[in-house]
């Protein structure tokens, strides 16, 4: 009887070990902007590899970086690259570094509600910065009018709308304005949330577009994905070559491709105001943040395999969800970087 029990318990123990080895559960947290494509990827990847399950919480980029640094998640995700200070923080807490892997591209578009104006407006970089700095206050300001010949702009005050919640969208937008205008760079700067010189704050893309709908003569900015999926009209923006470009999946990928040769080895790069005649200027990568050293071999293999899949097959799912694909040279560079994970 005793022997039987012993054998049974041994079998049970073995069974548990076998089960633990076969299922790899990865926890991740971070950016909300790429959440739709991430959850699709994790889901499809799980169907192809039933033993690997990735649980992603879209708690925001800041939260993702905090949890990754604290070691409560296996990897993180962020709409802005980690700062040098954050990387140092990670290094001192964990004893090794952290790697950035661009996953998809996002863009931010200017959108507006001017009664009587239904044409697509062109915005010069100076005009957009001036409006958000509060130095351009009327819709018929010469800086706006000169880029829109033939459009009858009203002599009304511009109501500026921005995001009230900290967000990657704001980071990309203010990063662009910092490059476009020195006044903005010195007075306001770039961050997920800034000290806005003028304007009303709306919570989330839906808050901004809600305020725009209700407020005549207003201007705001939303994510390209959000604008495309909700059929929100948006304006063209002057790029670094002086051309007015409408944001689209192609013009966003073009911005990434134009900056591809200058991408540093750690992939921490801003591609706003990228060179090239077809590049859309308010474009950005969004990143997965992977620890350099992963002790658990099963987890390490799973993450490496997922990254490889995401960079190749995974990219084909992007456009269905209105995310722009990574350009080929960037993918090639990232595939090489996967071997840095140890």
């Amino acid at each position: 009887m005793k022997r039987l029990l012993l054998v049974l318990s041994l079998l049970c123990g073995l069974g548990l070990i076998a089960k633990a080895q076969s299922t790899v559960l990865l926890n991740a947290a971070g950016a909300t902007f790429p959440y739709p494509i991430y959850s699709k990827w994790f889901n499809i990847y799980h169907q192809a590899h039933p033993n690997i399950q990735i649980n992603y919480q879209s708690i925001g980029s800041g939260g993702g970086i905090r949890q990754l640094t604290a070691g409560t998640v296996d990897f993180g995700a962020s709409d802005g690259p980690m700062t040098d200070e954050q990387i140092k923080d990670f290094q001192t807490k964990n004893g090794f570094g952290v790697l950035h892997f661009p996953t998809v591209l996002g863009a931010v578009v200017p959108t507006y509600n001017i009664p009587g104006v239904s044409t697509e407006l062109n915005f010069t970089q100076k005009a957009l910065a001036g409006i958000y700095l509060g130095s351009i206050t009327k819709w018929n300001d010469p800086e706006i009018a000169k880029a829109n010949p033939g459009v009858k702009l009203p002599n009304d005050d511009i109501v500026v709308v921005h995001r009230s919640d900290g967000s990657g969208t704001t980071y990309i937008f203010t990063d662009f304005l910092s490059k476009a205008d020195d006044g903005w760079k010195n007075k306001v700067g770039r961050a997920t949330s800034v000290n806005w010189p003028v304007g009303l704050g709306g919570k989330g893309n839906e808050g901004v577009s809600g305020l725009l709908k209700q407020t005549p003569d207003s201007i705001g900015y939303v994510e390209l994905v959000y604008a495309l999926q909700n059929n929100i009209a948006f304006g063209k923006l002057q790029n670094a070559s002086g051309k007015f470009i409408k944001a689209s999946l192609d013009s966003v990928t073009a911005a990434a491709a134009a900056s591809a040769k200058d991408i540093p080895d750690d992939f921490r790069v801003s591609i706003t105001n990228a060179p090239g005649p077809t590049a859309y200027p308010i474009s950005s990568f969004t990143w997965l943040l992977i620890p350099e050293k992963i002790k658990d071999t099963a987890k390490r293999d799973a993450i490496k395999d997922f990254l490889k899949w995401m960079l190749t097959d995974g990219q084909n799912y992007n456009e269905g969800l209105s995310y722009a694909k990574l350009p080929k040279p960037v993918v090639a560079k990232e595939l090489k970087a996967i071997s840095k994970i140890q």
């Binding site: 980029s61 200070e85 954050q86 919640d165 961050a191 000290n195 009303l200 704050g201 209700q214």
Partner: protein, 327 residues
């Protein structure tokens, strides 16, 4: 030996102190311990809350000190933070809400408890209790789709036209702003005031009313001069419960206030509240000082609530001493 055993075995005679174990077995002691644990848990949770807020706000408290309370800059880029615009927005929106909600709520409660037929009163009270339980995001939607357009097209222009000589009603009116937030908060807190005030008014002894009527008072005089003063402490309690909800409301406020940390005399202007900025910026706050400044804002909100509640207690004590209830 045997004598000891026999005394223990004897059932406790009435009037003598029962042993600990027998009290335990009869439930008294169990109830005593369990309720004591729950009661002290409240103290424990409160002190833990303050402790956490205090510890986690260290970087911000060290960086800014008392300046945090009086500075009106909020700049995450250069790590410069001040709470004043948020304190201002929180207090102004709550004050607007209470100024509108108190007369409205008290009048409705008087109608329901003193004047309305019992059946109607019960039906309306049920609906009001239901309103008090509606999640705040629903009130936010109500604000966006009904109050904001009304504010821009009707309420705002009317106020400007009639009271525009006051600095509170000047400047551009976007539809969103502190007054709009105050109105949405009013809608949210009025059910509290009505519901509790009605209950309190109903507990006023019938003799009080009858005595007043017997002395020749009209029905309104009996209500206003006898019944309402008798229930004053309870009505005030309802007001301070309403205040607590208004101070801490997050979702509905952030949807309609404009989220702009500036101090403006005009109540048409956009503002910002403490609860709203914490909810908006916490997820993406990365820097140490930034994060701890948001936590210190939580501490500030806690202190404001604490101080206002203390003042409320004092006010109740003072008015009770002043007579009225004659207790």
């Amino acid at each position: 030996m045997s004598t000891v055993a026999s005394t223990i075995d004897q059932p406790p005679s009435p009037g003598t102190v029962r042993s600990f174990w027998s009290r335990l077995s009869q439930g008294d002691e169990v109830a005593h311990i369990v309720t004591l644990i729950f009661a002290s848990a409240i103290i424990l949770i409160t002190s833990l809350l303050v402790y956490q807020l205090w510890i986690n706000s260290v970087p911000s408290r060290h960086a800014f000190g008392w300046k945090f309370w009086f500075s009106s800059t909020w700049d995450p880029v250069s790590d410069d933070f001040g709470a004043l615009p948020f304190i201002y927005g929180t207090i102004v929106t709550s004050a607007i809400a209470l100024i509108i909600a108190l007369p409205l709520g008290l009048a409705a409660a008087i109608f329901l408890s003193e004047l309305a037929p019992r059946k109607i009163s019960d039906v309306i009270s049920f609906l009001i209790d239901l309103l008090a339980a509606v999640p705040s995001v629903i009130y936010g939607l109500l604000g966006i789709f009904i109050v904001v357009p009304l504010m821009r097209t009707m309420i705002g222009p009317t106020l400007k036209h009639t009271l525009g000589f006051l600095p509170f009603f000047r400047g551009p009116n976007y539809g969103v702003g502190m007054l709009t937030a105050g109105i949405v908060l009013t809608i949210m807190v009025v059910p509290f005031i009505i519901s509790i005030s009605r209950e309190v008014l109903l507990t006023v002894p019938r003799e009080q009313r009858e005595a007043a009527l017997g002395l020749g008072a009209t029905r309104w005089e009996a209500t206003w001069k006898v019944v309402v003063p008798w229930a004053r402490a309870g009505v005030m309690g309802s007001v301070f419960l309403a205040l607590a909800r208004a101070l801490g409301e997050t979702m509905a406020v952030t949807m309609v206030i404009g989220n702009d940390p500036k101090i403006s005399a005009s109540i048409f202007a956009p503002g910002y509240t403490i609860a709203a900025v914490i909810a908006n910026e916490f997820t993406e706050a990365t820097g140490k000082v930034y994060l701890s400044a948001l936590i210190e804002l939580g501490l500030v909100l806690f202190l404001i609530t604490f101080i206002l509640n203390g003042l409320a207690r004092l006010l109740i004590i003072a008015t009770e001493r002043g007579g009225g209830r004659g207790a």
